[in-house]
């Protein structure tokens, strides 16, 4: 086309190109307006709350709110020698208010996390400070207990000055910041969280493997059987899929109990003695068995939908060219099902890593996962900022796998039923 070609105009005189662009923009806005209600609903009720969890997990204003004057006075203190009279006075005034409001216990718990031994000296101070005379608080406080003369205790208070801290995240991986500001591991007998993280990954990984090993044969059978038989067998996959999670967990609790049917069967076949029935519930075995059965449909369905598209003539061609059934299967059929394997494995892994209900009911102490620990801190210890921090650490992992899933499979290819 030569550059002299006249611009094509629409009937009202605007260039066609512009007019088309305008129409397209209008369509874009129209499409977006349809999605907007759900998007905004989710942003308000879901995305913001998760963002708030992030704030909550790093929020460390508890101590600084309780000792406002002290931290103002401490700003000038370099932390090398004992602080000045000014700091002692501010601390005395702050602490007096806390004792009067009966919230001093919270402070001593928090400061005791920072340095052991705070609890008793704070208690003693609360008793003695009633008789304090005005002026020279430094001498009076130091006279209460010799630890008040130890600069380490004042440094411990100062460490809680920042409004935000990542200490909850360190706690989540069994580390902490010690008095010198170095990040170190907690003592060996207290490293509980790392065990939980590895156990969660281990359970999610093996459940995925078990699901794959069990789902592949039946998905193949379902995809190759004639329709009328496969529809019937499909019900065996879909009925558990639609049945309540709690119902399925309850049935495993019945089956796996010591006097349960599985144990009866083992005794009947002579595998175990009647008086020596193995404990199959309230440990990792229970978690593995129940989670595998519950998540199995999520592996079968993607595998089935991929296998359904593979033409049987490919296998026949392979065989006619001299491949044995095993060779044709592994050289031709198996590679073609890899997209389904990827989809199923990632989906099952994502679902397994955040499982809560089943491990809590059949897992006992040795079969609980990271989700159970989050629930424990939400409901029992009420350490909500720690629960938030652990939740976000788990979320990061899940979103990473979700991202891979989206890249490899595409989120719109999730198959449901």
């Amino acid at each position: 086309m030569s550059s002299e070609t006249k611009k094509i105009l629409t009937t009202d005189g605007t260039p066609l190109e512009e007019s088309l662009k305008k129409a397209e923009r209008k369509n874009k806005i129209k499409a977006f307006m349809l999605v907007a209600p759900l998007l905004f609903f989710l942003i308000i009720t879901y995305v913001f709350p998760i963002g708030e969890m992030l704030l909550r997990s790093i929020d460390d204003r508890m101590v600084s709110k309780m000792l406002p004057k002290t931290y103002v006075a401490m700003e000038k203190w370099d932390g090398k020698e004992l602080p000045s009279e000014e700091v002692f006075e501010a601390f005395y005034l702050d602490y007096k208010i806390l004792v009067e409001n009966k919230t001093a216990g919270k402070l001593s718990t928090q400061l005791n996390y920072e340095k052991n031994g705070f609890k008793s000296v704070l208690k003693k101070l609360a008793r003695k400070q009633k008789k304090f005379t005005e002026g020279n608080y430094k001498e009076q406080i130091m006279a209460v207990h010799k630890r008040w003369r130890d600069v380490d205790y004042w440094r411990a208070i100062k460490r809680r000055a920042p409004e935000y801290s990542y200490s909850k995240y360190l706690k989540g991986i069994d580390m902490y910041e010690n008095e010198d500001g170095n990040i170190v591991q907690v003592s060996e007998d207290r490293r509980i969280h790392r065990i939980l993280w590895t156990r969660t990954l281990e359970v999610a990984f093996f459940v995925t493997v078990f699901c794959f090993l069990m789902a592949y044969p039946i998905a193949y059978l379902l995809a190759t059987l004639p329709m009328k038989y496969s529809n019937l067998l499909m019900i065996c996959v879909l009925l558990p899929f639609w049945t309540s999670l709690l119902v399925r967990t309850a049935s495993w609790m019945i089956l796996l109990q010591q006097q349960g049917i599985v144990n009866d069967f083992f005794v009947f076949t002579g595998l175990v003695a009647d008086d020596n029935r193995p404990e199959m519930m309230y440990n990792k075995t229970g978690t593995y068995v129940a989670m595998t059965q519950i998540l199995l449909p999520f592996m079968v369905l993607p595998l089935y939908s991929v296998m359904k598209t593979i033409s049987p003539s490919l296998m026949r061609a392979g065989k006619s060219l001299g491949g044995t059934p095993f060779v044709t299967f592994f050289k031709i059929y198996f590679p073609l099902t890899i997209p389904g394997i990827g989809a199923g494995c990632l989906l099952v892994f994502i679902l397994a890593i955040g499982y809560y209900i089943t491990p809590a009911l059949v897992g006992g102490a040795s079969g609980t996962l990271i989700s159970n620990q989050i629930a424990f801190h939400m409901k029992s210890t009420l350490d909500w900022s720690f629960a938030s921090a652990m939740g976000l650490m788990l979320l990061t992992g899940v979103l990473a796998v979700y991202w891979i899933y989206n890249k490899l499979v595409g989120i719109d290819n999730i198959k449901l039923g």
Binding site: L39, F41, F48, P240, L246, P297
Partner: protein
């Protein structure tokens, strides 16, 4: 899967091994559900098959746990069932409306940032429930909706919409857009076109998405555990409490009812799927 006559013996053996593996897996999938059924008719209090049941003695079976479920003193199941249905129905309505409208936008070819928005809309299905539970609990407590039906319904709409979005976009992917253009050229307004042309065609997808949303809400326990007060207890919460404290046969009676409900839903969903495939002319 009949084997040809010329199959070698070793492949024949392998074939039967394979079939028995499959039988085992199918058994593993479905058998646990059938354990509940007979035990819920147990005349005794224990959750094992009594000797009488093994002999099929009629006296060993009874309906006492079903009676206990319905008429039992201080029994929580009536209130729980009422709450569960109210919450699930409203949550389903909300999910279906928001999800279907969003799916219409998402399947337009003009939709900007389609991938990332789709991923965001599906995320409540992927994010572990415990995290959703914690986040939604903080939010509902702040806006004063904790321990209310409204709060739980809103939370379940969040969890239910991904299913509606997925099923409806899947239905729309085979949708012939020329029919809506034809309607428009004949003078129909967009709303009229949607109600008269688009909706009837995608209805099977919408309903099956709705079924998913219903089941999600009806079965959901983690978020409700955080949000519910004493007045908002639901069937799953009651089951959870019961399973944690002591396994009573009454729970099995409830579980049997739930299995029957899920069978009905499964049949409906399957019929809808086939109808949808027929309407959209997908031959299998």
């Amino acid at each position: 899967m009949a084997l040809p006559k010329y199959t070698e013996t070793r492949y024949r053996i392998w074939h039967y091994i394979y079939l028995s593996i499959c039988t085992f897996v199918f058994f593993f999938l479905i058998a646990p559900l059938f354990v509940i059924f007979p035990l819920s008719f147990n005349a005794e209090e224990f959750l094992v098959f009594s000797d009488g049941m093994k002999r099929l003695d009629p006296d060993a079976f009874s309906l006492r746990w079903y009676k206990d479920m319905i008429y039992g003193t201080k029994n929580p199941w009536g209130l729980a069932a009422k709450n569960s249905f109210i919450i699930a129905i409203f949550a389903t309505l909300g999910s279906v409306i928001l999800g279907t409208v969003a799916a219409l936008g998402l399947s337009s070819r003009y939709m900007p940032f389609k991938g990332i928005i789709m991923a965001a809309l599906i995320s409540p299905m992927i994010v572990p429930l415990i995290i959703s539970g914690v986040a939604i609990f903080f939010f509902m407590a702040k806006v004063g909706l904790a321990a209310t039906h409204t709060g739980i319904i809103l939370a379940h709409i969040v969890l239910g919409t991904p299913f509606v979005v997925i099923t409806v976009t899947a239905t729309l992917s085979g949708f012939d857009h020329s029919v809506t253009r034809a309607a428009a050229s004949l003078g129909s307004t967009p709303v009229n076109t949607f109600m008269k042309i688009t909706l009837p065609l995608i209805l099977p997808g919408v309903i099956s998405g709705g079924l998913f949303a219903f089941v999600t809400s009806f079965d959901e326990v983690v978020v409700v555990l955080f949000l519910a007060g004493l007045d908002n207890t639901t069937i799953p919460v009651q089951m959870w409490t019961g399973l944690r404290e002591q396994l009573s046969p009454t729970i099995l009676a409830v579980a049997t009812c739930l299995i029957i409900l899920s069978t009905l839903i499964l049949v409906t969903a399957e019929l809808l799927r086939r109808r949808s495939e027929r309407i959209r002319g997908i031959n299998r």
